[in-house]
């Protein structure tokens, strides 16, 4: 039987359409149909100046707009040979980590909801709200933040930032333990996730999978450690890994990652240096002809920007390497042979955002 799952299916997190070929309850073949949210972001980039394109990257992975902005700013900074001042770098790290927490929280809430655990959604959105409030107070927007500019930051930290972030970090440590109590040993949760969607380390490598998925397969691959950017090498944190390579381990890795993010935030907030927040960047950006590829560790995996400049005001080519698109490709490998209900769990733990898959 051929079954259409989506594009309006609630557990496909947006407008993903899956054509499932079924034999009873077993999945025989999966075909992903994407493109329902295609807006041509890369083409838009060729028609905008470098500064003007910055707000558009927020709209790709709208759950973690700050990370997208960070990646883009780092890429253009690499192209024009400018480095953000130390204060800006540390502030960027704090916001990127807060964003990682917000992204993982939304993931945890929605994928728990897919599997029938409704309380987790309310808890997670409540905590995410606190993070979004910090974003709103800092830069004036909650989701599509446009928080960073090329060469540093536009806004100075607001007065209550330190107090808000400390209060959040204090509160969130306790709340994470609450999630642990709620889900980690929950028999239904374990039953639905354990052994579901196994993707071994070798398979992860050959499919180009990155982020929490590859770490759940036992590979300690994290770009924050492997090629530190924006001053991540100053911080002391671990890369959480698991050996099981299944959905349950991806959940555990993400929970641990939130703990590590809190560690980074706590360290960073202690040592925000004073000084300028914006490097000297010309008002009209005209990078010399050349190309640059910069990748960062976004909450969902490796997010890369490849920009080719021909010396004019606009990028000649702008290519984004989105983590969710490449992680989604491995769905076929994991879902064939699984039950229909497991497909929901597998999509959930890949953690896709369709805005980024389609661009």
């Amino acid at each position: 039987m051929v079954l259409n799952m989506g594009p309006q299916h609630p557990s496909t997190h947006g407008v993903l359409r899956l054509v499932l070929k079924l034999d009873g309850e077993r999945v025989k073949a999966v075909e992903c149909v994407i493109g329902y949210l295609h807006r041509g972001v890369e083409k838009i980039g060729e028609n905008r100046t470098y500064i003007q394109f910055a707000p558009y990257v927020d709209r790709m992975d709208y759950i973690s707009a700050v990370s997208n902005g960070l990646g883009y700013c780092l890429a253009v900074e690499g192209l024009i040979g400018v480095e953000a001042p130390p204060r800006a770098q540390i502030v960027r790290v704090i916001f990127a980590e807060l964003n990682r927490i917000a992204s993982h929280l939304l993931w945890l809430g929605t994928s728990a909801l897919d599997l029938g655990a409704m309380t987790a959604l309310f808890y997670c959105l409540r905590e995410r709200e606190e993070v979004l409030k910090i974003f709103e107070n800092y830069c004036g927007a909650r989701l599509t933040t446009h928080a960073f500019r090329i060469g540093g930051l536009q806004y100075e930290l607001h007065d209550t930032f330190e107090a808000e972030t400390r209060a959040f970090s204090e509160m969130f440590k306790k709340r994470l333990d609450e999630y642990d109590q709620l889900l980690t040993n929950n028999p239904i949760w374990i039953e639905r996730l354990k052994g579901v969607g196994v993707l071994t380390a070798d398979e992860c490598k050959s499919w180009g999978v990155s982020g929490p998925m590859i770490r759940a397969a036992g590979l300690a691959w994290d770009l924050r450690k492997a090629q530190p950017y924006s001053g991540y090498d100053q911080f002391d944190f671990d890369i959480p890994t698991r050996q099981g390579a299944d959905s349950y381990d991806r959940y555990l890795v993400r929970i641990d990652e939130m703990r590590q993010s809190l560690r980074i935030i706590d360290q960073a907030i202690e040592k925000i240096p004073t000084g300028a927040i914006m490097a000297k960047v010309p008002k009209v950006l005209k990078p010399a002809p050349g190309e640059v590829y910069v990748s960062i560790e976004a909450p969902k995996g490796e997010l890369g920007y490849y920009i080719v400049s021909d010396g004019s005001l606009h990028p000649y080519r702008l290519r984004v390497r989105p983590p969710s698109f490449i992680n989604l490709a491995s769905l076929e490998k994991m879902a064939v042979g699984a039950l229909v209900a497991d497909v929901v769990a597998i999509i959930g733990t890949i953690d896709i955002v369709l805005g980024e898959v389609d661009r």
Binding site: Q52, A54, R126, E136, G140, A141, Q154, H158
Partner: protein
């Protein structure tokens, strides 16, 4: 033994209910009562645009430099100016701002050299028509006036 006592006195049930009642505390309620109470919005919130007026003489602060229109990624700002022969300055004749295409990125606000264009904390910008979202100079100076509905 412990299990039996737990079962007789319904300890697990009480523990669960305790969590339920803890959530009833007013400090734990996060629901906002919009529109009865307006939510507290960040000071830097990027909402409805406004053209600022000089409070001393009631004239617009805008100098018609067109920088906001150039900075806008969506090209939605149109500034019309006219060269005043006496003062040799640019007088603002019209200013339109197409909110239906605006993504509130704040680049126009950053570009303004005299802080005339500003994104304010107003967020009630809904309109019944598409044309209603294209704001002219008067609308930008006076701000949105949402109808107050009462029962």
């Amino acid at each position: 033994m412990l299990e039996t006592i737990k079962r007789i006195f319904l300890l697990d049930l009480l523990q669960g209910l305790w969590v339920t009642f803890k959530m009833q505390r007013t400090s734990n309620i996060t629901t906002e009562q919009y529109p009865k109470e307006l939510p507290k919005i960040g000071e830097r919130y990027r909402g409805a645009p406004r053209l600022n007026i000089n409070p001393d003489n009631g004239e617009t602060l805008c100098i018609g430099c067109d920088l906001c229109a150039k900075a806008c990624p969506e090209n939605l700002i149109v500034v019309g100016t006219h060269r005043n022969k006496e003062t040799r300055r640019l007088d603002l004749t019209y200013f339109t701002y197409d909110l239906s295409r605006c993504m509130f990125c704040g680049l126009c606000e950053d570009a303004c050299p005299v802080d005339a264009l500003e994104l304010t904390q107003d967020f009630e910008m809904a309109s019944y028509t598409r044309e209603g979202l294209i704001w002219d100079r008067q609308m930008l100076e006076e701000g949105p006036r949402p109808t107050k509905y009462t029962r």
